[in-house]
Each structure stands twice: as structure tokens, then as C-alpha cells.
């Protein structure tokens, strides 16, 4: 691993505490490094500075120097260099730290500024927290508690603005709650590159809206909901569904493409209610696609497989594994692995294929990259298949070779791990072979299969993916699978054991002990030790392969 270049450090003083921060850090981030929170609304680390909320006003001072000689001026009282405090408060977001900069975040002037801005923000706010989706994760609530006066002096009427405007298919706007911070406007312009939002009217009557004839319908529109500090922009899908404080947060990985955007899966009592991005400055910053957020619906999909199938008769897991092993005995087995399987599943698949002497096929999934967080490779874990040795080279499209081998009579049994064989085989070819299917949803393959293991979706199991940067990223089970399903790892290890292969543990931490020992690229990793931001693997063994990805956020081919 190449160490990142060391940034130039400068010393600043936050509330009397000296701290070294990288040059160019703004005062909000400098204070954060010193463990001091500077409240703010419009500032967002991944967007340009707007400076309009005025919540981050602080007092700022610079060391005094003699204007003629540039020699430091010493304060006789303290013996230290004198600090020239700027009489007006300054916004911490737009002021970069310079050597020796002093800031005060708790002085009477700063407190007065914070109380003033809080009061101003609330006078025209509807204060409808009891029915607002943002309640519980609302910056207005948090900061009015932390920095406000606690009472209102406002007796005039409040502004009336449009409620529940549909900005697009997935975002609902309540203009009365909007504090005009312009985060969403900047996001659309700067990140999504789809400049559709803006303000109309002037002064306190300013109203957020879409440009005439435009809609907020790009695939990143829901990020505006995440960054909205108040309840103005809400997700139409999540609106009025659940209180956020009831939800359990589980770290996940977006399985849409090889970008592997980091996510948080919000669930309660075994049901997922929403998915939001998790900050990873090396992968997805604080963003994710809308399409990735709606994937949780597959958990409750009506075509979900929940019954073990054993030649048309319902049966237990061990019976299914034994039946599969019986099919393997006749030889002519092929394995269709998946770029959607986790590293662990791919490793067990590789072991199974090696034990059975089965050729491995892995259909590629290629689409158009959006240059942001969806790459051309729509398999989230193509590189995992390379790292675990499931496939020696980049997979190609379709299952042409497998079809040929079936026609030639060389293949009699196919184990498919989550891949629909109908994508590459004809109905006739499917009928010729015995299929063992490990999957989550009903399709032509599960219908044709003699043995079906109902498996888990990515939200119900723990594992890892290797993304396009060769970054090993882990995800954890957010909810349990429905009754009748079994972890893919359990199904695969049972099949391997039933066929007479060396037993592998199905429990993920135990399996990782084997993985780390046997897969050289993973030698330094253990599941429980993988950092939240992922672990970069050595990519040199595969550097020459013609990967399909183009440029995306934080990735250059």
C-alpha cells in the first residue's frame, strides 16, 4: 500500500486549545479536529461553500505582528503573542485556517449570534415536529436544543408556502419547513450535474422549487433528502412510515455495481424501512444512487423462494444436500458462480468446484456507467471471484460454453448460485440437465431445478465484496431471512460435505480463518478486523486484466 502524502500541518487555537490541522482546513473542520462542534446548516463537507445560514459564526483572531517589521507583538500581561480579535463574527465554513489562527466558539458574542440565528430560523418554521419525518434526525431540533434560547418571542403570523410538492417521482417537498440553506440546489448542480432546483421569489418568501418543466428525477435525487438538514425534502417512499429512532442501523454495501457504495440499512423488527448512504471518502463520499435504495424491496418480494425443493417434494436442508451429492456422483457437473455472491460464498464455490472437478462459469453483467456511483460492471463482486480463485480470468457474457458442453453431453448437472440459467440456456437445454439452484427468487431455473436451496438476500447475510478499487468491504445482516431460507454459505458447505469434500465452517468468522490462511490476497484480513471504510487489497496480480469500468467518483481505470 502506498502511504498518502502527508498534508502540511499548521497550528490553530480553538477555544484555547492548540491543535495541528492540515493547511486549507476550514474552521468548522479545524474545530471538529479539536473536538469542538461548530453548529451549521448550509455547510456540507462535499459541497461548495454557501455561507448563507450564518449558524457557524465564530470569533476569529490572528497573531499580532508589527506592520513595519513583521515582528510578533507580545502581550505584556500574558507574555504570549498578542491576538488581534476581529470585531465582527466570521462564518467558520468560509474561513480557512491559517497559521496561528485563534477561534472562539463559546464566547458571549458567539452564543448571542447562535441564539439569534436559531430564533430567526424558527420564526417561520411550522414547528410540526410531531408529524415530521425528520424528527429525531433534524438539525433544527438538535441545534435549537443545543444553541437556541428555548422560548419564542414571535407573535406575528408565519409565512405560508406550498406543502407536499412532488419535486419528482421520489422526493416530496414541504416549503414551509425549508430553511433555504441551498444544500440540495448545490448537490444537484455540483454532484448530480442535473441543475433542476432553485429558489423563486425573494426575501423570506423565497421558495425552493424545480425549474419550470423540469423534475427532480435523476438517479441521485434522494441524496437531497439525506443532506436536507430539516424536514423539507422527504423521501416519498419513507414518508410517514416509521420514526427514525425506532430503527436499527446496519452497515451495508450497495450491490448494484462494482462501485460498492457504503450504505446504512435501517430496520425494525426484521423489516427494512430505508437505505441511506454511509460516508466513505474513498468510495462514495456521502452519496448513493436512488436505485440502490429501493433494492430492499426484494426482501419481501412475492416471488421469494422460501421452500426447500427436493425433486418437487419439500424436504430438509440435509436431505437436499444429500440429494445434490447423489446427483454429483454421476459426474459431469458444472458450477455457475455469481459476481453477486460474497467473497466467502465464492470461496466455498471454488472449493466445491475444485472437489467435483467441475468447470466454473460466471456470467458477466455489463451496463453503462453513470460516471458517478454506478459503474459499467453491474456485478458487485467480480474481483472477489478473481481473488478467491473461483475464475482465473474476467468472465465473459452469457453461458455459451456451458450450452455447448450440455449439447455435447459432457455436462449433466449444473449447480447455479443465484444465477438464472435461462439467461444463457434454452428451455430444451435446461430440461436436459439436473439443476441444483441456490437462490432467493423464483425464476425459470428454480422452476426447472430438481433441488432448490432458498437462500438469503444481501440484506440478510454477512459477508464481503471486493469493489472496483480492489477494496474489500464488509456488510452485515440487517434482518433475518424469512422462515424456510438458509444462508447460502450453509447450503454450499453442506453440499460440499455431503459430496465428501473437506468440511468448511459456515460461520463467517470461522470461515475467514480458512480464507486468510488459503487466499494469499486476503492473508492479512479477518472479517471482524476489516475497517468500516474497507481494506485495499494488492491488485498487481490482476492489473493487466481488461476491466470494463470507466471513470466514476474516486475511481480511475
Amino acid at each position: 500500500m502506498i502511504a498518502p502524502p502527508k498534508p502540511d500541518l499548521i497550528t490553530v487555537n480553538v477555544d484555547g486549545r492548540e491543535i495541528a490541522v492540515p493547511k486549507g482546513t476550514n474552521m468548522i473542520e479545524a474545530a471538529r479536529l479539536a473536538g469542538v462542534d461548530v453548529p451549521h446548516y448550509c455547510y456540507h463537507a462535499k459541497l461548495t461553500i454557501a455561507g448563507n445560514c450564518r449558524m457557524c459564526l465564530v470569533e476569529m483572531g490572528l497573531p499580532a505582528v508589527d506592520p513595519a517589521t513583521k515582528a510578533p507583538i507580545t502581550d505584556a500581561a500574558t507574555g504570549k503573542q498578542k491576538i488581534n480579535w476581529v470585531p465582527r463574527p466570521a462564518i467558520a465554513c468560509a474561513t480557512n485556517a491559517s497559521p496561528g489562527l485563534h477561534i472562539r466558539t463559546t464566547s458571549p458574542l458567539v452564543k448571542d449570534c447562535q441564539q439569534g440565528v436559531m430564533e430567526f430560523l424558527l420564526i417561520n418554521h411550522p414547528l410540526d415536529c410531531p408529524i415530521c419525518d425528520q424528527a429525531g434526525e433534524c438539525k433544527l431540533q438538535e441545534q435549537s436544543t443545543g444553541y437556541g434560547r428555548g422560548y419564542s418571542r414571535y407573535i406575528e403570523r408565519k409565512n405560508v408556502k406550498p406543502k407536499r410538492t412532488q419535486l419528482g417521482p421520489r422526493v416530496t417537498l414541504d416549503d414551509e419547513r425549508c430553511i433555504l440553506c441551498s444544500r440540495c440546489v448545490r448537490f444537484c448542480k455540483e454532484i448530480a450535474k442535473d441543475d433542476v432546483l432553485g429558489f423563486t421569489d425573494r426575501g423570506s418568501a423565497s421558495t425552493l422549487t424545480c425549474y419550470p418543466g423540469k423534475k427532480l428525477e435523476n438517479n441521485y435525487s434522494l441524496n437531497t433528502v439525506d443532506i436536507c438538514p430539516v424536514g423539507a425534502l422527504t423521501s416519498t417512499d419513507f414518508r410517514f412510515k416509521m420514526r427514525v429512532w425506532f430503527l436499527k442501523k446496519t452497515p451495508g454495501i450497495d450491490p448494484e455495481s462494482s462501485v460498492g457504495a457504503n450504505t446504512v440499512i435501517w430496520s425494525r423488527e426484521g423489516e427494512i424501512h430505508r437505505i441511506t448512504p454511509r460516508r466513505n471518502d474513498e468510495v462514495n463520499d456521502t452519496w448513493m444512487s436512488d436505485s440502490g435504495r429501493l433494492l430492499y424491496r426484494e426482501v419481501r418480494s412475492p416471488d421469494r423462494l422460501v421452500t426447500m425443493k427436493l425433486d418437487g417434494v419439500a424436504g430438509g436442508l440435509d436431505a437436499a444436500a444429500a440429494s445434490a451429492a447423489w446427483l454429483f456422483r454421476t459426474g459431469g457437473v458444472a458450477l455457475v458462480g455469481s459476481g453477486r455472491s460474497s467473497v466467502e460464498e465464492q470461496f466455498v464455490c471454488a472449493r466445491l468446484a475444485a472437489f467435483l472437478g467441475a468447470p466454473v462459469f460466471l456470467p458477466s453483467r455489463v451496463g453503462e456507467g453513470d460516471k458517478l456511483l454506478i459503474s459499467a460492471d453491474r456485478n458487485p463482486n467480480t474481483r472477489g471471484a478473481l481473488v478467491t480463485g473461483l475464475v482465473p480470468a474476467l468472465p465473459g457474457p452469457g453461458l455459451g460454453d456451458l450450452a455447448e458442453a450440455i449439447d455435447a453431453g459432457r455436462i449433466k448437472t449444473v449447480v447455479s448460485v443465484g444465477e438464472d440459467l435461462a439467461a444463457g440456456l434454452t428451455a430444451g437445454q435446461l430440461a436436459q440437465i439436473s439443476v441444483v439452484y441456490v437462490g432467493t427468487r423464483r425464476n425459470a431455473t428454480s422452476d426447472a431445478a430438481r433441488i432448490v436451496f432458498p437462500a438469503l438476500t444481501v440484506f440478510e447475510k454477512s459477508g464481503t465484496f471486493v469493489n472496483q478499487q480492489f477494496r474489500l468491504q464488509k456488510f452485515a445482516a440487517a434482518v433475518p431471512g424469512p422462515a424456510g431460507t438458509a444462508d447460502d454459505l450453509v447450503a454450499l458447505t453442506k453440499m460440499l460435505a455431503a459430496a465428501g469434500g473437506a468440511a468448511l465452517p459456515a460461520e463467517i468468522n470461522a470461515l475467514w480463518a480458512v480464507l486468510a490462511a488459503e487466499v494469499s490476497a486476503l492473508a492479512t484480513a479477518l472479517y471482524r478486523n476489516i475497517p468500516d471504510t474497507g481494506l485495499l487489497l494488492d491488485r498487481t496480480p490482476w492489473a493487466a486484466l481488461p476491466f470494463v469500468e470507466g471513470e466514476t467518483l474516486h475511481f480511475k481505470p
Binding site: 461553500i49 454557501a50 455561507g51 448563507n52 445560514c53 450564518r54 449558524m55 459564526l57 465582527r88 463574527p89 462564518i91 468560509a94 448571542d112 449570534c113 441564539q115 439569534g116 440565528v117 430564533e119 430567526f120 430560523l121 420564526i123 417561520n124 418571542r153 414571535y154 406575528e156 403570523r157 430553511i179 433555504l180 432553485g198 429558489f199 421569489d201 425573494r202 426575501g203 423570506s204 418568501a205 423565497s206
Partner: protein, 273 residues
């Protein structure tokens, strides 16, 4: 204006950079001037800088166009060498004094955002005259109409718009009009000015509609204090200064406004600008 030319919503820019002359249109040095400045440029080019700098008083050179409006006999535009006329001379001699039977009460010397001055006030202290400091003891009528003197007594030369109010004017009514203007003009970019100017407007509008409370003056002042010095552009000060100075200089009028209004048979709500 520069933002508009760049095709953006016309919001004031975050400072620094401080001046368009450094980084203006498309981040290039840009000169933005008002008409008065350009009028001066013509004379400076004609006369030469040195001859022009002899007009007016030291440190306040050139001429100023004063636009006198309100309750005087002869309102209008008057051009003077800067500092060569006092406020008293301007209002009494040039503009013909107050209307018949009236007395001057207050004057805003530099456009509606400048702090109001009250007749009868005296201003004392030391000021710079050339290199040395000299004592001054002025009534409002003695104040020379130049930038430094007006700043010294807590207001400003500003735009040169001199607004005169006589004893027939209710200061609350006058402030209600000013606040309505500033609330309407606020661009809405930053919080204190956007919400504060509207709040002040709503308070003064409520007051002139017969719902005044004795504590409204103090509240107005407190709201204005939360705006000035905390905004992106100078509009924050512009909308806060009238309220701050009106309430500070005429606190009794604000306190007793409810009573005054009740006892005035002609009182009625009026259209604000």
C-alpha cells in the same frame, strides 16, 4: 449585478474576496460604479486630480449631491462642495426651513438606511482636523455635511439622501414604512436579514394597525441587534440601523404608541410602500 451577468441568481457574494476590482465578473477585475462616481470622474479628468482635490474639505474632497426630501419648504437636489455646508444651513437656508407652523424633529442624513438624527441633540468630543485633534461641540444644525463628521456623530453620509421629518410625524409610522421597504428588498440569501427584516416589518406593521404593545420597541431593537454585523452583505446593517436608531432615540414614542394611537381620532392604518 455581476452574478446576474454570469447567469446566476443575483445574490451578494461571500467575502473575501472583498472587491470586484480584485475578483469580479468571471473572477476577473471588474469596476462597478454608480452614476454619481462617474459624474465625478468627468470633472477629475477635466481639472486634473490635484485641482479637483482642492474642492471640498481635507479628507472629504469633491462635491456631493444632496437629495433633500420630506417636510421642508423646498425639497430637491443640491450639489455642494463636501463639508462646506452644515445641516442647519442646508435645511433652513437652502431648503427654506420647516413647513409653516411646524418644527423639525428628526433627519436621516444619508438615505433611509443611515441612522436617524434627532433635533435638539448635542454632539461633543475630539475630532481630527488635519494632523491635530480639536474639540467640537455641535448642535445637529452645526454638523457639516461631510463623510467624517456624519460618521463622528453616529450616522453616515451614505447616499446623500436627506430625509426630513417634522413634529407632525410619528416615528413609529416612519419606521413602519422603512421596515416595509427593507423587508421587501431583502434578497433572502442569509438568515438574519431574510427573517429579521421581515420580523421587524411585521412588528411595526402590527403596531400601526392598532395592535402595539409597550414592549415592542425593546423587541425591535433586540431583533435588529441580531442582524447587524452577521450577514453576508451590508444590507444587514442597512435594515437594522433604522430600527436601532429610531428605537434608541425615540423610545417613549414606541412605548406610548398604543395610547397615542387610541387617542388620535384621525388614526387609521395606512398603506405602506
Amino acid at each position: 449585478m455581476i452574478e446576474s451577468l454570469e447567469g446566476k441568481r443575483p445574490y451578494p457574494r461571500i467575502k473575501p474576496p472583498y472587491f470586484p476590482a480584485v475578483l469580479g465578473l468571471y473572477q476577473c477585475p471588474t469596476i462597478v460604479n454608480n452614476v454619481e462616481t462617474l459624474c465625478h470622474v468627468k470633472h477629475i479628468a477635466d481639472m486634473g486630480g490635484e485641482a479637483y482635490s482642492r474642492i471640498g474639505t481635507p479628507n472629504n474632497t469633491g462635491t456631493r449631491i444632496l437629495c433633500v426630501s420630506g417636510q421642508v419648504q423646498r425639497p430637491g437636489y443640491y450639489e455642494f462642495e463636501v463639508g462646506k455646508v452644515t445641516l442647519g444651513q442646508l435645511l433652513n437656508d437652502v431648503c427654506g426651513g420647516p413647513l409653516p407652523g411646524r418644527k423639525f424633529k428628526a433627519v436621516i442624513p444619508g438615505g433611509s438606511s443611515a441612522k436617524v438624527l434627532k433635533f435638539g441633540e448635542r454632539y461633543k468630543g475630539k475630532r481630527k482636523a488635519g494632523a491635530e485633534m480639536v474639540d467640537y461641540d455641535w448642535s445637529l444644525e452645526d454638523v457639516p455635511m461631510d463623510f467624517d463628521s456624519l460618521a463622528l456623530i453616529g450616522s453616515m453620509g451614505g447616499s446623500g439622501g436627506v430625509i426630513v421629518m417634522d413634529d407632525s410625524v410619528s416615528m413609529v409610522d416612519a419606521l413602519a414604512n422603512i421596515n416595509a421597504f427593507y423587508s421587501h428588498e431583502s434578497c433572502g440569501q442569509c438568515t438574519p436579514c431574510r427573517e429579521g427584516s421581515q420580523w421587524m416589518q411585521r412588528i411595526t406593521t402590527r403596531m400601526v394597525h392598532g395592535e402595539a404593545r409597550p414592549e415592542d420597541g425593546a423587541l425591535l431593537k433586540s431583533v435588529a441587534d441580531q442582524i447587524a454585523g452577521r450577514t453576508i452583505c451590508a444590507f444587514g446593517e442597512a435594515c437594522a440601523w433604522p430600527t436601532q436608531s429610531f428605537v434608541q432615540k425615540f423610545p417613549d414614542e414606541f412605548k406610548s404608541y398604543a395610547e397615542t394611537k387610541k387617542n388620535d381620532p384621525d388614526a387609521r392604518a395606512f398603506e405602506l410602500v
